[in-house]
């Protein structure tokens, strides 16, 4: 901002005073206008500059920041995508468990068949050596291995079932991110209102209740500290034993 010359001001004030003292109304008006113009020429350009900057900042804010697109489409789409991931993993986990369920009886049947053939062989063999001699040794070895393998297969099927627990763990983590996206959408919506020059009276939808540990924090995530967490089941067992002992 340019500062008016004090000497110029002094001359204008003196002219104003002279016109007033001399009862010169036209001279007074002339001197007053000159003084006023002198003041405006410093202030006005500065005010205009600030107003223009503010206007262009607001225009950039709504146009360049893509706020409308973000708030109107991309953030709601992000939520839909995350929800879809939870649905897909849910379906995949159930499909896997359907297959585990259908494999269980097949494995059991193979184990039962092998065991009953081995039993029959032994009981016949005791009574009829000629019958037992018809059985090659490799058949017995095969049946014994089938029986043992069936047990391992059964155990693997249980592990396969347990592994589907990932869907619950990832689902809980994704749901907490969805809650965050919901909040982000609210905040963006509010910013869009401000950028459009509308008054924001209230949030359209209530924000989700703040998560606290009583409601549940969800699973631990590597790299994100969640306060004082246990390291695993052994840690929990030790903590509970200690509490029971302290009672």
């Amino acid at each position: 901002m340019s500062h008016p010359d004090p000497e110029q001001f002094r001359a204008q004030v003196a002219a104003l005073q002279g016109a007033l003292d001399g009862g010169d109304a036209a001279g007074f008006r002339h001197a007053f206008e000159a003084l006023s113009a002198q003041m405006d020429c410093g202030l006005l350009p500065e005010l205009k500059r600030i107003t223009a900057t503010a206007q262009s900042a607001l225009a950039r804010f709504s146009a360049e920041a893509r706020l409308d697109v973000l708030a109107g489409h991309e953030v709601p789409d992000a939520r839909k995508r995350l929800t879809h991931v939870v649905k897909l993993t849910d379906e995949a986990a159930h499909r896997t468990m359907d297959l585990v369920d259908s494999c269980g009886p097949l494995v059991d049947e193979a184990a039962r068949g092998a065991a009953s053939l081995l039993d029959a062989w032994r009981s016949y063999g005791e009574r009829d050596l000629a019958f037992a001699a018809q059985w090659p040794e490799s058949a017995a070895t095969y049946l014994q291995r089938t029986r043992a393998d069936s047990e391992r297969l059964r155990a693997n099927l249980t592990e396969l079932l347990m592994a589907q627990g990932y869907q619950d763990i990832t689902g809980q983590i994704i749901r907490s991110v969805i809650a965050l996206v919901d909040e982000l959408e609210q905040v963006l919506g509010k910013l869009v209102c401000i950028a459009d020059g509308n008054e924001v009276t209230s949030m359209q939808r209530a924000l989700p209740a703040k998560l606290d540990w009583e409601r549940g924090l969800g699973p631990q995530v590597a790299g994100i500290t969640n306060g004082d967490a246990v390291s695993g089941q052994d840690d929990i067992d030790a903590l509970l034993s200690q509490m029971a002992a302290d009672k």
Partner: protein
């Protein structure tokens, strides 16, 4: 092995309910009812004669901790064994669950052996009581 014990399994994820149900069936427990949060579980508990409750913590609606407290506050249900099966891992939470009267606490992800071990322990102390 088979048993007449009546289980209520509460979790908002159907995959986890199914895993727990299958494991219980492998252990010989076949009378299993499911619920997806505390609000649906509590009326079932009040109406039915369940022997054991296995519940998640973090659920929409009524979380597992509130369900545990509601069970302990109900004179008819107060002694029901409650096993918490959850990913919640803060020490503060485990202490709170213990103080609210939880019978066992299994952290997710868990193994079939851990679930069996905690169930056996709960059922043994239930039989001794």
């Amino acid at each position: 092995m088979s048993s007449n014990l009546k289980f209520l399994v509460v979790d908002d994820f159907s995959t986890m309910r199914r895993i727990v149900k299958n494991l219980l069936q492998e252990l010989g427990y076949n009378d299993i009812t499911e619920a997806d949060d505390g609000n649906t579980a509590l009326p079932l508990l009040k109406a039915g004669s369940f022997d054991i409750l296995i519940t998640d913590w973090n659920m929409p609606g009524m979380p597992g901790l509130d369900l545990l407290k509601a069970v302990r506050a109900d004179s008819k249900l107060a002694k029901l064994p409650v096993l918490m099966l959850t990913a919640e891992a803060k020490r503060e939470q485990i202490v709170e669950a213990a103080q609210a009267g939880v019978s066992g606490y299994v952290i997710k992800p868990f193994t079939a052996v851990t679930l069996k071990e905690k169930l056996d322990k709960i059922l043994a102390s239930r039989a001794a009581a």
